[in-house]
């Protein structure tokens, strides 16, 4: 399984519509401070990391939407994933219609139920709890952990 592209629409610092194509192998993202490198990781986690909001550095779901004047109502990220000869597009959107914020998932363009999405993500075997995604600051956090916290960390992987 590989992620072939990340299409972001008004997601964090990615205003309008921006598509990043990815290839197999070793891809390195470079750029100045604050240019949007970690936001690319957040975009992947936004779709794949359904279980944990914490990991994506926002306080409220509305903070995913690209800040602009007047404020936008929606943002979305679509991952094109290929596995063997199958291809999927998995997307997630946030819609902020003023008094409530909705989060919807789409599989190959059609609305999908949350449970179906979770099952599909599980089938990819991207173990977020075993640090398949290492966020900026994770190393420092583990360095500062106590002996008991490290044991709990390994317990959570068992």
């Amino acid at each position: 399984m590989i992620i072939e592209s990340i299409e972001m629409e008004n997601f964090k610092s990615y205003g309008k519509k921006v598509t990043v194509r990815l290839k197999d192998g070793f891809t390195v993202i470079i750029g100045p401070n604050g240019s949007g490198k970690s936001n690319l990781g957040d975009a992947m986690l936004f779709v794949l990391g359904a279980k944990s909001n914490k990991a994506i550095r926002v306080d409220r779901a509305a903070d995913f939407i690209h800040k602009s004047d007047p404020p936008l109502k929606r943002c979305s990220v679509t991952l094109t994933i290929s596995e063997g000869d199958k291809k999927y597009t998995l997307s997630r959107e946030i819609v902020n219609n003023g008094n409530e914020i909705k989060s919807n998932y789409y599989l190959n363009g059609k609305r999908a139920r949350y449970l179906d999405v979770l099952k599909l993500i599980d089938s990819f075997h991207i173990y977020l709890d075993s640090y398949s995604f290492v966020l900026q600051g994770d190393i420092n956090n583990i360095i500062k952990m106590s002996g008991a916290e490290r044991r709990k960390l390994i317990e959570s992987m068992a």
């Binding site: 399984m1 590989i2 992620i3 610092s13 990615y14 205003g15 309008k16 921006v18 598509t19 990043v20 194509r21 990815l22 290839k23 197999d24 192998g25 070793f26 891809t27 390195v28 993202i29 470079i30 750029g31 100045p32 604050g34 240019s35 949007g36 490198k37 970690s38 936001n39 690319l40 990781g41 992947m44 690209h66 800040k67 990819f124 075997h125 991207i126 173990y127 075993s130 640090y131 398949s132 995604f133 290492v134 966020l135 900026q136 994770d138 190393i139 420092n140 583990i142 360095i143 106590s146 002996g147 008991a148 490290r150 044991r151 390994i154 317990e155 992987m157 068992a158």
Partner: protein, 164 residues
């Protein structure tokens, strides 16, 4: 319960030793305070950079600690292999030599999985097969500015923005 935990711990520890040796040429190990009562014990990371003594990582330098913890994270990843890995500036504390070792290792790992890494160091990006450059347009919008994609014949192609 206990047995599953200890099996996992031993598996991680075996990986950890191998990866630490591969990155630094030194020795490292995880220590658990009690194998009889693992679910109430504490786990310590000990490392012995080449030519030094084996000590808890708290007494090592900033860079030496981060190499040890990076090796531990890679050991976690080895226990449950994933098709995609994302690593955000894990080379931040490292000097040129250590950063190169990390770049080499990730290039090798990328033969078995898709590896996506954010790095500010040339010592790492020189091992990349693809590079994505981002910048801002001055109004807080991220622009994708450059991509080098290593074609199958190994030649780098420079293209602006989207790859046709």
């Amino acid at each position: 319960e206990k047995k599953t935990f200890l099996d996992l711990f031993d598996g991680i520890n075996k990986n950890f030793k191998e990866i630490y040796y591969r990155l630094t040429g030194g020795e490292a190990t995880l220590e658990i305070t009690s194998r009889d009562d693992p679910l109430n014990s504490e786990i310590y990371i000990k490392a012995m950079p080449k030519g030094k003594y084996m000590i808890k990582i708290d007494a090592l330098s900033g860079g030496e600690k981060s190499v040890a913890v990076l090796a531990l994270i890679l050991a976690f990843q080895n226990e449950k292999p994933s098709p995609v890995y994302y690593l955000d500036e894990v080379d931040m504390f490292l000097d040129g030599y250590n950063a190169e070792q990390v770049g080499k290792l990730f290039r090798e790992n990328s033969k078995k999985a898709q590896v996506i890494m954010v790095s500010l160091k040339k010592a790492v990006s020189k091992f990349a097969t693809n590079i994505i450059g981002v910048t801002t347009d001055g109004h807080g919008n991220t622009k994708i500015v450059e991509k080098y994609m290593e074609e199958d014949d190994g030649e780098k192609r420079d293209s602006q923005g989207d790859n046709k």
